[in-house]
Amino acid sequence: MHELSIAQNIIDIVCDQMRIHNLSRVESVSLRIGLMRCVVIESLSFSFDVLTSGSPLEGARLEVEEVPIRGRCTECGHGFTLKTWMDDCPLCRGARVEIISGKELDIVSIEGD
């Protein structure tokens, strides 16, 4: 249930931005979430809806772009998308892979007026 805490953090940031940019209504919030974060998007949206109900954010939508897990082979340096955690480097078959993306948990933009 880390989704509830994550939703609360999103709301805090969006409320700050509403004040800064003088928004009275928010239509959507765009997020980038890496697959390593194991965030269940449905739970996140549900938590967000519950927490924003009756607030100026009520009705705002979360738009999530999921970021795949990418790794780099420590042998040959080749970068590739991991389909499973046990994937070896498709170029040199190297087994040691460093993760380079998939941990994102960012707000990208807010749409409102």
């Binding site: 805490s5 953090n9 928004l23 194991c38 955690w85 948990l105």
Partner: protein, 216 residues
């Protein structure tokens, strides 16, 4: 109107965690965020560790539980300050909870602070508390499929302690599989096999901790 923001969702927590980290560094305290599923043996590990090393290092403990002070009562012994945090439902500790607990600890009189997180393999990983490193405890009775099911905690931990090795004859746990899959997720992970019940392997864990505290 579309407003570009580009902010980390957990930045508020990360800011507080950085403040905690600065405090720990100033006071030269080595801080471990001890994570595992429920029942892996975190509190027993703490008991054994304090028992084994209390003559060499000054320990402090923060206990994180949803409810109860049972763990703090188990750890309480002369000369070891313990602070219990009850999250009241939250499934993890965060930077701010630790920040508040620090008001009740004299960091200047500690060498090692071990934070026993809430038993959970998912949420505690998301929330930095300002620790030097995460140590993960996995018991053989939980099953050897955990690396592939909960990869992030293996990826973020510095050390994996495989506990309850004395139960190995009675459970279907393939140590080699766990080692292989954990290292695949995190090539830098160190792994030590222990049994808090029999004491097997604990000297290796003590050496590891001694070396890290010495390097502080």
């Amino acid at each position: 109107m579309k407003i570009p923001v580009v902010k980390k969702v957990l930045e508020a927590n990360e800011r507080i965690a950085e403040e905690n980290r600065r405090l720990f560094e100033e006071n030269e305290v080595f801080v471990i965020n001890l994570v595992s599923g429920p029942g892996a043996g975190k509190t027993t590990l703490l008991e054994r560790t304090i028992e084994g090393l209390k003559d060499q290092h000054r320990f402090g403990v923060i206990e994180g539980d949803i409810q109860s002070t049972l763990d703090a009562q188990r750890i309480a012994s002369p000369g070891v300050p313990v602070v219990q945090i009850n999250t009241g439902g939250a499934c993890h500790l965060d930077g701010n909870m630790i920040r508040q607990a620090l008001d009740k600890l004299d960091l200047g009189s500690l060498d090692v602070l071990i934070v026993e997180n809430v038993g959970n393999l998912v949420c505690p990983v998301e929330f930095d508390i300002g620790e030097d490193c995460k140590v993960m405890l996995l018991s053989v009775s939980e099953g050897d499929d955990k690396p592939l099911k909960y990869p992030l905690i293996f990826h973020e931990s510095r050390l994996l302690l495989i506990n309850k090795m004395d139960l190995l004859p009675y459970v279907d746990f393939n140590v080699e599989r766990t080692r292989k899959e954990s290292l695949k997720i995190n090539p830098h992970l160190e792994i030590i096999e222990i049994s808090c019940k029999t004491g097997d392997g604990l000297p290796f864990w003590f050496d590891w901790l001694r070396e890290k505290v010495g390097g502080r």
